[in-house]
């Protein structure tokens, strides 16, 4: 809701009644829609309700808004008369391979929670502007996730730490080196007994080797590692099953039946991009010949994996272990205790019918016992070596990170630590609350932190050293399956930062640049040309370990008892994970999957729980543990959430780490203790009165019409191949001529397959990166002014508490052949091209917004304010930025943004794609089918004297999509992929009865439920 919405209390029983007992399928987006509140009607009729009328404004503001800035653009003669003469500045020595105007692509790898994903970095004139997937990498295969797309914003983040800090004083690396070498020399005598290293998950062979060398130099020192949402449980599970830690990966391309036990494997696990592709390939009806795999999802929080499943059961996180035990019992692995519900018996039967082609995946949020049991289950089903692959451990360092951190805290508390070196981790913010790590940290003699942001941990350390971003450094990293990729920079470090390997080099007394360190490490493995080939392809050959045949040796573990009463479940936020991406504007503004909340976390609960507590969405409530800790935040009523549980996301409420991170949401870590890292009981939730406004996009840009989403089961598809609803209405006869233009060139169109779209939001972020889309902030999102050109709509089908279906639908400009937006523009700023594009000509637009008013799909976005320049977080300069002159360099203090607006904006300007116009205030924007890419390919084809090949033009959204749900191409060519998909029976157009003749078509979503299981 926006700031002026008067929130009436929703009657959940009435909503429930409206949803049950309906004949025919009803797709609903929000509770407000079903309740048909007055407020919702306003949002449906008017894109921006509660907008201010000009009559409300006072005279002064009126003049301010109406006074347009002088447009000097057309008056070239004014240059050098009263405007500065424009300069053009070439290089002094131009790099040989660079062609100004054409981007270069470099293969690299991004570390995501320790594991690497191969990417291609698009670089314009020496600055990286976009990240794409590396088609040759086993996980990425050319696609990316939202987090990978947003990582480029992090590199240009003005809040990143830029200088070495000693306490609150600016210092230099030279000063640090003097101090640290002195301390290390002293420690040598004690063989390093007082030294502790703390890292995050390390999957880089180079870093692991360097740490190993350090530990050889200081044998009494210890290496600890900590990740707030790491894979301790997976490691402990395999330890229990096999006596050693193995790396378990899944081959979903061979799986016909998949059971997921709280595993969000399509988005949140290492290898997710690969799993998403393989999973989608098993459901791509036109390719599989009508066959589909089947996914049973047991989950404790609605995820996109659950939305893509064929059967979904919501239950407490602590109850899922019981399901695992029942499945194991059904297979004869453990004695069955108690009655097994019918649906689980059917699931077991389905698994048994697919020996060797089934898969049971435990979620990382489940305790180790569940992982251990799943190893046994998969082995019993004959899946080992087929759908489940085991290999040697991929990451390095301590196996149990919680234990490791606890040991470190104990050592700190016993005053044993004289030198603590923290690489990247942020334990002051993310450590379990009972460890009281912040206090323990104070007891170390010298605390050194190496990280990208001056955050909560740096604040408590003696030294903070800035770390390079992966786009600025050399290194290596292993992917989810162990494949090694080299990390190569696309730009020299923007600030005075060094990479982890360089920092370790300093500590080892071998201060090599990261390039030299890497080259040295690969001297023998990649001699001569092989080094260049590895850098060019992004993958080091022969580093993928083959699967290992092993057998479960451990006894069946005891599943922990479920939490009685209300369960509080802690999960990492799908967007900002454990808080490390909290300062990313793109990720904060990206609507969270399913809830569509931006800029905040919430206390998620089921409708029945909300009714019981007398709460509804955006109420202010408090969660208190029986041991006294409490946190408060906004409530969110989530259909499909397990009944007797609440879920709260980690990563918010940060106190340091950048202007965006600070103050977004509420901190959940105070509730999380070492004994209850995943979930806890003994909690109460009560209303604090008042409201906590949440900016959610779920009711923004509603399409008022029918037949928006088509879905059905595989059985229904046989009887109704088009999945047409009963009230299907064909387009009426139009008085306009049928042909738009008489033109013999390509006609661009697009198809989106709802069956393979998982709603991961990679397309939304990729579009934002490619098209220079600005971040608008929470306040503007509340007014529906978010600028995302493509939005991910989410529809529920079924009852309020447990919707039977959740469907995702990405919607962008449909490029209608008979576009309603075109005839109404008074200045002709949106006209139709001969190739079928609905063009947006920014320089003509005067901002009447008539086009957006007329668009039935509500895909147009208006820049109400000057978002590209006026990033208000950089205008909140509270004091003059203190600077320090050291030698010939000038440094400014990092941390809370103290740089004046120009500095921050200049840095962010480097991120912009030079092929796309940066829009100011008063301009309408929308999806352009990536016209810059179309134009580029058209020109290249013309120069080479050939036609554009099918698949040559890839839009940003299409390129990012992990499941390849989006296909773009020439609809005039009957042999193109997009034409074939358009001709598919499942293909339909949005709001077809309006006769807009959109070029974007959708394929209906099909589920494959087990006919034996009653719905």
């Amino acid at each position: 809701m926006d700031n002026e919405t008067k929130q009436g209390r929703l009657d959940l029983d009435a909503i429930r009644a409206k949803l049950t007992g309906k004949s025919g399928k009803q797709y609903w987006r929000s509770l407000e829609q079903v309740a048909e509140t007055e407020e919702f009607q306003l949002w449906l009729e008017d894109e921006f309700p509660h907008r201010r009328s000009l009559l409300d404004i006072d005279r002064r503001s009126f003049l301010k808004f109406m006074g347009a800035s002088l447009a000097f653009a057309g008056l070239a003669g004014c240059r050098s008369v009263f405007m500065d003469q424009e300069k053009v500045v070439p290089y002094v020595k131009m790099p040989e391979e660079m062609v100004v105007g054409k981007p270069l692509y470099y293969a690299s790898a991004i570390p995501l929670l320790g594991y690497g994903v191969g990417v291609l970095v698009e670089q314009h004139e020496g600055r990286p502007t976009k990240i794409e997937g590396n088609p040759d990498h086993p996980e990425s295969q050319g696609s990316t996730s939202a987090i990978i797309q947003a990582s480029i914003l992090q590199m240009y983040d003005p809040d990143r730490s830029q200088v070495a800090m000693q306490g609150t004083d600016i210092s230099t690396w030279e000063e640090f080196k003097k101090v640290i070498l002195g301390v290390l020399t002293k420690q040598k005598a004690a063989a390093g007994a007082g030294i502790r290293i703390l890292t995050e998950t390390v999957a880089s062979p180079l870093i692991a080797d360097q740490i190993g060398d350090f530990l050889k130099m200081f044998p009494a020192a210890t290496w600890h590692s900590w990740d707030a949402t790491g894979r301790d449980n997976a490691r402990a599970g395999s330890q229990g099953a096999y006596g050693k830690v193995v790396n378990t990966t899944y081959d979903l391309s061979k799986a016909d039946v998949i059971v997921s036990l709280d595993a969000d494997f399509l988005l949140g696990m290492p290898g997710s991009l690969r799993y998403a592709r393989d999973f989608a390939d098993g459901r791509r009806l036109e390719a599989t010949g009508g066959k589909m795999n089947r996914l049973y999802q047991f989950e404790s929080f609605p995820t996109i994996t659950g939305a893509s499943s064929d059967h979904r059961w919501a239950m407490k996180a602590s109850e899922i272990g019981g399901v695992a035990a029942m499945i194991a019992g059904g297979l004869g692995l453990v004695p069955t205790a108690g009655e097994v519900p019918d649906h689980i018996q059917k699931v077991v039967a389905d698994l048994q019918a697919h020996q060797g082609s089934s898969l049971v995946i435990p979620g990382d949020h489940q305790p180790a016992a569940v992982h251990q049991l799943c190893h046994a289950i998969n082995e019993k089903l004959g899946n080992n070596g087929k759908t489940v692959l085991h290999g040697p451990r991929v990451d390095f360092g301590p196996e149990n990170q919680l234990e490791s951190l606890t040991q470190l805290t104990d050592a700190l508390n016993q005053h044993k630590v004289e030198l603590l070196l923290i690489f990247g981790a942020n334990p002051v913010y993310t450590a379990p609350a009972d460890l009281k790590f912040a206090d323990a940290l104070g007891k170390a003699k010298l605390k050194v932190r190496h990280g990208q942001y001056f955050d909560e941990t740096s604040d408590k350390c003696d030294w903070h050293l800035p770390q390079t971003h992966f786009l600025e450094e050399w290194g290596d990293i292993r992917a989810y399956d162990g494949t090694v990729s080299l990390i190569q920079p696309a730009i020299a470090p923007l600030f005075d930062s060094k990479s982890q390997s360089e920092m370790l080099g300093i500590l080892l007394g071998v201060p090599l640049s990261s390039y030299d360190a890497l080259k040295n490490a690969y001297k023998t493995k990649l001699p001569g040309k092989k080094w260049d080939i590895a850098l060019n392809s992004g993958v080091v050959e022969n580093t993928t370990p083959g699967p290992v045949a092993i057998s479960v040796t451990g006894a069946a573990p005891q599943i922990p008892a479920p939490v009685s009463g209300l369960e509080v479940s802690f999960r990492e936020c799908p967007n900002i994970v454990d808080g490390r991406y909290a300062n990313s504007g793109w990720l904060q503004e990206l609507p969270r999957p399913l809830t569509k909340i931006t800029w905040d976390n919430a206390i998620h609960m089921s409708p029945s729980k909300a009714q019981e507590l007398g709460l509804q969405s955006e109420d202010h409530a408090e969660v208190a543990l029986s041991t006294g800790e409490k946190i408060d935040g906004g409530v969110w009523v989530m259909p499909g959430h397990p009944k007797d549980a609440i879920t709260i996301h980690l990563g918010y409420g940060r106190t340091k780490g950048g202007t965006i991170a600070e103050g977004a949401g509420f901190d959940v870590y105070p509730l999380r203790k070492s004994a209850s890292m995943l979930y806890t009981g003994g909690a109460t939730v009560k209303s604090l009165g008042g409201s906590y406004g949440l900016a959610t996009t779920q009711i923004h840009h509603e399409m008022d019409g029918k037949d928006i989403v088509r879905s059905g089961t595989l059985a229904e598809l046989k009887g109704n191949p088009t999945l047409q609803p009963e009230d299907y209405e064909k387009a009426e006869i139009s008085m306009y001529p049928d042909e738009v233009f008489d033109y013999d060139g390509p006609q661009w169109g697009m198809t989106i397959d709802l069956n393979t779209c998982i709603g991961c939001n990679a397309c939304v972020t990729a579009c934002q990166a490619e098209n220079n889309i600005s971040v608008v902030g929470k306040d503007q999102v509340k007014r529906a002014r978010e600028l995302h050109w493509i939005r991910m709509d989410r529809y529920y089908v079924g009852g309020l508490d447990e919707p039977t279906e959740t469907v995702h639908q990405p919607v962008m400009c449909q490029h209608c052949e008979k576009a309603p937006c075109e005839p109404v523009c008074p200045v002709g700023a949106t006209v139709h091209s001969h190739e079928g594009l609905n063009q947006m000509v920014y320089n003509r637009c005067v901002g009447t917004r008539y086009c957006s008013n007329n668009c039935p799909y509500k895909v147009r976005r208006f820049n109400y304010l000057n978002f590209s320049d006026n990033q208000s977080q950089f205008m909140d300069v509270t004091f003059d930025a203190p600077t320090k002159q050291i030698g010939d360099k000038k440094f400014t203090i990092p941390g809370k943004v103290t740089q004046g607006k120009p500095h921050g904006i200049q840095l962010l300007k480097m991120l912009n794609n030079p092929d796309v116009t940066v829009r100011g205030r008063g301009i309408m924007v929308k999806c352009t089918y990536c016209v810059q890419r179309i134009n580029d390919s058209r020109i290249e084809a013309k120069k080479q004297g050939r036609d554009i090949k099918d698949g040559e033009i890839v839009t940003a959204c299409e390129q990012a999509c992990p499941t390849r749900a989006i296909v773009f191409g020439n609809v005039a060519d009957k042999e193109s992929r997009v034409s074939k998909l358009r001709a598919d029976k499942r293909s339909y157009l949005l709001l077809e009865n309006l006769n807009t003749r959109p070029r974007t078509s959708y394929l209906g979503r099909v589920r494959n439920p087990n006919p034996e299981i009653k719905a």
Binding site: L75, S833, H834
Partner: protein
Amino acid sequence: MPQIFKPAANNYARASLIAGALAPLLIGPAIAALSRSPANTKVQVPLNQPIPFSHQHHAWELGIDCRYCHTSVEKSSYAGLPPTETCMSCHSQIWTNSPLLEPIRQSYETGTPIKWNLVNKTPEFVYFNHSIHVDRGVNCNICHGPVQNMHITFKGNSFQMAWCLQCHRAPERYLYQDKDHPELTPRQQVFNLYWKYQAGDKLTLRESEILNGEWEGDDNTQDMKEGKDLLAKYGVKVQQLADCSVCHR
């Protein structure tokens, strides 16, 4: 009651009414003419540069091909401005002590690039691609004027949209083929014209007008017909050339 307005006020009123009616009729065309005049478009107004680079000396007298310096004109949207290294490729051996070339030597030694004054520019909302124009046979001089005659570089044409459209809407007015060398591709023909000029060959009227920057498109029926044939031969999709998104994206 005393009169507020003197009798002369009548004359003022009459005069201001007439002026008010005439003013738009005078000011309108005046502004239109002004905006099309060299005062605004800077056509044929030489622009001083930090180093007095002479195109006539380098391109005509020495015969250096345009692409020696403007290297990316056939590859990308941007024609390319030569880096200091390109200048030094000759001037490290020739005129090494000339005071006029001191800024270049300084730039090369200190690594500070030379800040040239921008002569040819389209507005920021225009995305112009050089490579496709060269590929289609649009000679450099057609847009940039008689560059090889310029001692001090000036803008060759107004680059106002109307000027671009007169070719984009009717490319047959500009397309031609060298009858002596019909085997040449349009791109080869662009540079072949310069070779002919350098060799002192006989040029057609059209060709010499192009080189002098006076060519404004052909309205001769026969030439237009030949132009149309060439359009068909090269597969130029004329209708699409005037689409907004071709230049404004």
